[in-house]
Symmetry: C2
């Protein structure tokens, strides 16, 4: 079943934290270093790095180190798994509405 998807677990879990959603929003404007991203939060760098690692494990961002600077880049395609899951749900709802409409117009027929 498509809903048993480890990637969905990771992506939804990563998005359940406000700091991580802010990072996703910031990286939507373009790549940024961990130092630049950390400036928008009051937390320590090691605490912030935990969030970066969770985003990276979920595949939502990629990071690369050049010298002492680690640059983060958003992987927009990864967010598409959320769109895909929502589309699956809508398909279920529409199928239900179709069945209900069919029943209302032909209540005798077995559905």
């Amino acid at each position: 079943m498509a809903q048993y998807s480890p990637s969905l677990d990771g992506v939804f879990g990563a998005l359940s934290d406000p700091t991580r959603r802010v990072v996703i929003g910031e990286l939507g404007r373009g790549p940024a270093s961990v130092g630049e991203l950390a400036r928008s939060t009051p937390m320590t760098l090691p605490s912030f790095m935990k969030h970066i690692r969770i985003l990276e494990s979920a595949g939502l961002i990629r990071t690369a180190k050049t010298g002492r600077v680690r640059t983060c880049t958003l992987d927009r395609e990864r967010l598409a798994v959320v769109d895909g899951w929502l589309a699956e749900q809508r398909a279920i709802w529409e199928a239900r509405t179709d069945r209900l409409e069919k029943f209302v117009s032909n209540p005798q027929e077995p559905s």
Copy 2:
């Protein structure tokens, strides 16, 4: 900032578990009792009830007890917060693409 939303924390957190996503999918077909929903999983009823409570706390489902039967209903509107957040991200990406296009066509102008 819209991204600091406790409701988004709860909704994304609730969706990060495969059992809870299956429940959302099942309830998309129509209301069902906790007993009916629990049949699709190998877990004990108390463990399953924890998932139901998390979905209820996130506002994704409503439950009502009649006699010994607790019936669950999906609140589709609550899933719209996910659509809203994704739309915000897309708006950020499009604004970035617009800035890049402007820069490519008028590299002298300050962006």
